[in-house]
Symmetry: C2
Subunit: 242 residues, 2 copies
DNA sequence: GTCTATTCTCGTACACCGTACGGAATAAAG
DNA sequence: CTTTATTCCGTACGGTGTACGAGAATAGAC
């Protein structure tokens, strides 16, 4: 009875029952045996996204990659949206806890954030894929469990801890999205030059004195990592235990 | 000579020369007079995105909305990607400075962030549209100019100020993306119930004691606004003037 | 063995997408 | 007038996600 698209502006988050997706029960001991596996399909899709970006992940390409017919994929995932969910949780399997919780929860949280950043840099499509809300799969839940354990010494209540996890993830995703986009521009010299020329022209129009001054300063080289660490520190050091 | 898609994973940020897009010179006083305008097309696209989400913005829908043939749009924007850029800058026109810089730059920055949040809530497709890096248009630049002015008392150098603007925007976008996704789930009771059932099942499996405890706590109602304000405060109060 | 129920495989088809192409319409310049 | 520049847009092409249904493969019932 639910609409395929909500009546307002939000995208059609019809979605599949998460329990049926992640907690699917025992094997159906009848009928033709599967030729492929959800795992293999997901891995192929991830490899494709890593190598050529998210938009290269089409049902046809994925099917071709594993030598299946296109429609065969639909025996393993009800639609492409779900395949994306599978991809996200699949790569989250790499997110093993960097270390068991020490006593210093702030340091642990920072380590977690750095792990997430490295993870997203390894899979640059992740921030975009995460932006549409998804139900956490088993691997994501394992990582969440670790984070909650790290936050135990804070004495915060459950809701607050979950909130911190969500905010931290959103922060890292936002940062990495910006970081990779920036890197993509820098990698194309003519594009970067065109952008610099444009900004210089704007700065010269007299209506943007602050911008003009900001751009006139010599560009000191800073690594993206350093910037991340600095902002992360501000965010986490500002957290207080109640 | 530039490739339509970079060789690695990043999406094809071919892009148009920003100067030609935003700084286009005088009128071409020859040939048939335009029946439409970039402004009207952009406004129609924005209205569509506001009402039905970003994925409702197709060239055909936009054209139909203003009573044009599909291909006529390409006289005003070279491709859909560019139309998205136009949309982003168009709505940024609403981002007038909330107030001239007071002396308290932290308070001003917080006001800016709240303005941005309200703006993105009004146009929930914005975080997604912003995630792919774009060259700032005139309206975005005006807002940037205001932010730089607010940051003047910090005495930070240009690069640091620009960094703060980028990070703040990314933070707000990340937060709002999460916020609207969360709201979309809550708005569909059966979806929310299914999710709760799933998480309860996971919590009951014995492998997620921290999650079980976090979920068992009574859910105290907190507004998204309060959460935003809290995290924003942490981020901004942590900024220091070098 | 045969039959039947169940499951997976996948070719075909459809609606929709972005947009290249080129001709018709329009308006100013020579 | 003719020329030239510009906009309008119907048609068409290659791509997308996926509904449908026929066929193949397997397991249990008899």
């Amino acid at each position: 009875m639910s609409e395929p698209v909500s009546s307002d502006g939000t995208p059609g988050t019809t979605g599949v029952d998460p329990a049926q997706l992640w907690l699917r029960s025992g094997e159906p001991r009848r009928g033709r045996r599967p030729s492929f596996s959800r795992e293999a399909i997901t891995a192929a899709a991830v490899a494709l996204a890593d190598a050529e970006g998210l938009e290269a992940v089409t049902m046809r390409r994925v099917a071709a990659e594993i030598g299946a017919g296109v429609m065969s994929l639909y025996s393993y995932a009800p639609d492409k949206e779900t395949l994306l969910e599978l991809m996200v949780d699949h790569v989250s399997g790499e997110l093993t806890a960097p270390a068991p919780p020490s006593g210093d929860w702030r340091a642990d949280l920072k380590a977690i954030a750095h792990t997430q950043r490295a993870h997203m840099l390894r899979h640059p499509w992740l921030p975009a894929a995460l932006s549409t809300r998804r139900v956490p799969g088993p691997n994501t839940l394992a990582f969440l469990e670790h984070t909650l354990a790290v936050l135990r010494p804070t004495g915060l209540d459950g809701a607050a801890k979950l909130e911190i996890f969500a905010q931290l993830t959103a922060f890292v995703a936002g940062h990495v999205a910006h970081e990779v986009a920036q890197a993509a521009v820098s990698r194309s010299p003519d594009r970067a030059a065109a952008e610099a020329r444009y900004l210089a022209a704007v700065a010269a129009d007299g209506h943007h004195p602050e911008l003009a001054e900001a751009l006139s300063a010599p560009v000191r080289p800073v690594t993206a990592e350093a910037t991340f660490t600095r902002f992360l520190g501000r965010l986490i050091d500002g957290l207080d235990t109640e």
